[in-house]
Subunit: 191 residues, 2 copies
């Protein structure tokens, strides 16, 4: 049951069988098909989601109606609007399914219960955020202030597998460039 979640937990902490069961029992699974929404902007984030299978992405819509991809989520990744989840304020993000999914969802109450009662769960969360922060800073360093071609080549190097699972125009948006620019760059890079 939930092999991907268990694998992720065990990569960071050691758990007794009881602790493992207590954690798993708090997750509620949910199946979603391509193009369904896991979350819509304006709603308060009730649940964080762990992607057990499939792929999703989140995006925001700016004042001119343009969409900006914020993050992707594949097996073993968490997805959700942390800001909205912890503050219980309305979210500006949409989360849409790219490949039919099984996600495991967790409410704020469940999260806080686990933090209080299962010390290794808190350790897992600390390491999760710590790694997420380092990865995100890496994203900033590999995109902000660099020419589009450089952003592309660094992304290619780091996440080659994403190209086979995500449409190019979403990758372009994630990089902060237009699909047309991405196309131009790829043409150059191929020669």
């Amino acid at each position: 049951m939930y092999p991907v979640l268990l694998h992720e937990l065990h990569k960071k902490v050691t758990l007794s069988a009881e602790q493992e069961a207590a954690i798993v029992s708090q997750f509620v699974p949910k199946k979603l098909k391509k193009r369904q929404f896991l979350h819509q902007e304006g709603d308060v984030t009730q649940r964080m989601s762990f992607v057990e299978k499939g792929a999703v992405y989140s995006y925001s819509t700016d004042t001119h109606g343009a969409q900006h991809v914020v993050q992707f989520g594949f097996e073993g990744w968490w997805i959700g609007d942390l800001y909205s989840f912890f503050t219980q304020k309305p979210s500006r993000l949409n989360i849409e399914v790219l490949e039919s999914c099984e996600v495991l969802t967790l409410t704020l109450e469940s999260h806080e219960l686990l933090l209080k009662t299962i010390p290794p769960y808190e350790t897992y969360m600390r390491l999760l955020y710590q790694n997420a922060y380092v990865a995100l800073l890496n994203r900033v360093e590999n995109s902000l202030g660099l020419p589009a071609e450089e952003i592309y080549s660094r992304f290619m190097e780091q996440y080659p597998f994403i190209f086979s699972r995500v449409p190019l125009h979403l990758i372009a948006s994630y990089m902060g460039i237009t699909p047309v620019t991405l196309s131009r760059i790829r043409k150059q890079a191929a020669s």
Copy 2:
């Protein structure tokens, strides 16, 4: 002693007098003057630093010799290369003093000791990373893929005080634009 550090700790967790003393005892203070370096690229990050007083900034140098400001650090903020600190691999960042500083430094051994022995310290760290992640994602959303003018106005709104403490060319670099572009934008904005 270390009023800023204590204030930051108490904002997130409650500590007994003994716990507080145990935490504080692990920090080693260090005074630095303007333009001194807290850290140089190529070195392994031996210590994370908490800014008790003053201001610093970190930057990386790309393959063409261009510098990119990665983050600023003011009173109450942490500064350092988390990646290098936790992996003990050489860092690509430089950290330079903007305003004469008192920083409180912590080794990886001290950090791990506190995590093991003082549960609220781990909670503090979890919340610290959690908030840092949310703030950083906010930075990404407020810069990546937006026109320079939009990046500027959002930055202005969020961190107005930084303009009075940091040279504009460093702010431009932080935003991922050139000083010349920033100057142009400010001229427009003033009219």
